[in-house]
């Protein structure tokens, strides 16, 4: 059964002045355990689609169902709660909390979920170990490289035990080595723990590793293909 289901999504920016049709009737189903890349050139609508799937933005038309919940039925606060408990986010610019250490950044999401302190602590350490940062628990983001920051972001995205993880151009700011390391980690988590990953990207290194590639052009899905990795 689909964990993500979007039907006939339309998104128009600047509706009253110069309308931009960012999405024009997009349909997409994503199953649990997928490792999917949404690709396309700049302005093709992939980030807009990802924002709508992530409940960060609302479509002008169409329906979004995530893990059996219709997003249009939720108000802003319910949507925040939904995101907190169901979706992990990885941003292009890492977006860690600069005043917290790696471990605190990972714990923070669990704190929002009111998890017990001991559990928070153990899970944060385990997750940071799994992304190879066991020796960086007490470093702040400014003391980490871009690749290390993005690995903390992966650990943070997983901390809330989300139903799926959305990553918006996660490798855009990383060098080849960091990109390869990050992709290895995410592929391993996908394989071993069946975590669903959806990326938006135009990085060929990411596209090569994806098992499904959804290609977008001008706000529409141009092709949707499975590929062997």
């Amino acid at each position: 059964m689909s964990i993500i289901s979007v039907k006939n999504i339309h998104k128009i920016y600047n509706e009253k002045t110069v309308p931009v049709h960012a999405l024009q009737g997009v349909d997409l189903e994503i199953e649990a355990g997928e490792f999917t890349a949404i690709v396309g050139p700049s302005g093709s609508g992939k980030t807009t689609l990802l924002n709508i799937i992530g409940g960060l933005d609302r479509p002008n038309q169409g329906k979004v169902r995530l893990a059996d919940t219709a997003l249009e039925d939720l108000n802003d606060n319910q949507l925040i709660d939904f995101r907190k408990n169901n979706i992990g986010f990885i941003f292009q610019a890492y977006n860690l909390i600069p005043v917290l250490t790696s471990q605190e950044n990972v714990e923070f999401v669990m704190l929002l979920q009111n998890r017990p302190k001991a559990e928070m602590h153990k899970r944060a350490v385990d997750l940071l170990k799994s992304v190879g940062l066991e020796d960086k628990l007490n470093q702040r983001p400014s003391q980490l490289s871009g690749g290390q920051q993005q690995r903390v972001a992966v650990a943070r995205a997983l901390a809330s035990k989300p139903k799926f993880v959305l990553a918006d151009e996660p490798t855009a700011n990383l060098d080849s080595k960091s990109t390869a390391d990050l992709l290895d980690i995410m592929a391993r988590l996908n394989k071993e723990e069946n975590i669903t990953f959806v990326f938006s990207t135009h990085d060929s290194r990411v596209i090569e590793r994806a098992r499904r590639v959804v290609n977008m052009i001008d706000g529409k899905i141009e092709s949707d293909e499975q590929q062997a990795v």
Partner: protein
């Protein structure tokens, strides 16, 4: 964790936080000092008034005090002396909280004539030895003596009167009274001493003679119009007043702030100026806080957007911004209070010499050296004011923060 984040956030821009902390601290410091200064000035005035003239408590015949100037009742005033004076004396002597008391007679608005010059004076008939235990007029004699032994009709005048009438020691002063039968009587007194309280309001009118001399002129015997009472502990003055009032129901027993209405006026003035200064301070502060916190919010749009994206609800974001502002207030207010306390403490010890301005102040009975005096209430008021201002100042930035839409906030940068 929210508190930890808020705490660390305020140190992200150290310079900006230090500027805000510094300005709040200086504001609190100046408020503490300014109000302690005016409080000290008024307290000194009250102390001087008590020491020089009023003493802590006075007992009168109610008719003496309530005599209406307009109705010419003042002429009858000499006969409104204290009833049952023995009973009053016994009551005062029996009260262990009463340190001393002095009997006084009084003649309102007496006509004074000195070598062709005329004026008006309030004549106090005092018992020099009793008076020494109650007020310090004896120690303020700058020329001559505080009454010479066994000499009749001596008068103590002030330095400003001596200057006004251009007279000195041993010179003659003629006072005009209306005697018991309503007949005007002129009596000559000789200046034995000149005093100076530095309070021109008082010195302008008050002259002192022996009570027995004044009573003889007024046709009174052993009677007194006023009993001035000095107590051991000024904080217990209201309790003593209550006690004496109950013992002496036919007499009017008043404490110093009831006797001198300007003291009450000054107290109101302190309260009012505390309120006004605090309000102006809060108004200035609130704009500073809004400005700083708004900058802090706008600088962190992407971060705030991210926090809301990963599930931090609006209430928590609001709380975080408010907490940051509150922490700034909680750091700076005590610093301001500490510097305020230290500077008030220093000047309370050495005094703040305002002799350059004292001529104008003396006219109103103010001392030329002011000892600032803070009070606990003051600190509580300022503490609460800073916290309220911090909360109010954080509201707009906090609303601004929660009105961000995560997707837009993340995209902004």
């Amino acid at each position: 964790m929210l508190l930890k984040i808020a705490w660390r956030n305020i140190w992200r821009s150290k310079l900006r936080s230090f500027v805000v902390i510094g300005s709040i601290a200086i504001g609190v410091w100046s408020l503490v000092f300014l109000l302690s200064f005016s409080r000290g000035m008024i307290m000194t005035y009250i102390e001087k008034a008590i020491e020089n003239q009023t003493s802590h408590i006075q007992v009168h015949n109610p008719a003496f005090i309530n005599a209406d100037v307009e109705a010419n009742e003042l002429e009858k005033a000499p006969y409104n002396f204290i009833q049952d004076v023995t009973k009053v004396k016994e009551a005062l002597a029996a009260d262990p909280k009463v340190e001393a008391f002095a009997m006084r007679s009084y003649a309102h608005q007496t006509f004074v004539g000195v070598a062709g010059k005329t004026g008006v004076a309030n004549v106090y008939g005092i018992n020099p030895n009793q008076e020494k235990a109650v007020t310090n007029i004896h120690s303020l004699v700058i020329e001559g003596d505080y009454f010479e032994k066994d000499k009749k009709n001596q008068i103590l005048i002030s330095a400003s009167q001596a200057e006004k009438y251009n007279i000195g020691i041993r010179k003659k002063v003629v006072l005009s009274f209306t005697d018991k039968n309503g007949i005007p009587t002129k009596v000559a007194f000789r200046v034995c001493g000149i005093y100076d309280t530095k309070n021109q309001l008082q010195d302008q009118f008050n002259v002192y003679v022996r009570q027995k001399d004044l009573n003889r002129v007024l046709g009174l015997g052993e009677e007194s119009h006023e009993i001035a009472v000095f107590v051991n502990d000024v904080d217990g003055v209201d309790a003593i007043q209550e006690n004496l009032s109950a013992l002496l129901p036919s007499q009017l027993v008043r404490v110093y702030d009831q006797i001198s209405p300007e003291i009450e006026l000054f107290n109101v003035q302190i309260q009012l100026s505390t309120f006004i200064f605090t309000f102006i301070f809060m108004l200035g502060l609130i704009f500073g806080i809004i400005n700083t916190m708004l900058m802090a919010v706008l600088e962190r749009m992407r971060e705030l957007g991210m926090l809301m994206a990963i599930g931090m609800n609006k209430a928590k974001v609001f709380k975080m911004i408010t907490l940051e502002t509150l922490l700034l207030g909680l750091i700076s207010a005590p610093i301001g209070m500490l510097i305020g306390t230290l500077s008030v403490g220093y000047f309370k010890r050495v005094g703040l010499d305002l002799s350059n301005f004292s001529k104008g102040m003396q006219k109103f009975g103010m001392s030329e050296i002011v000892y600032p005096e803070s009070s606990g209430d003051m600190y509580i008021t300022f503490g609460i004011a800073v916290l309220i201002t911090a909360i109010l100042g954080s509201l707009y930035p906090a609303f601004k923060a929660i009105s961000l839409r995560p997707v837009e906030a993340i995209r902004k940068i």
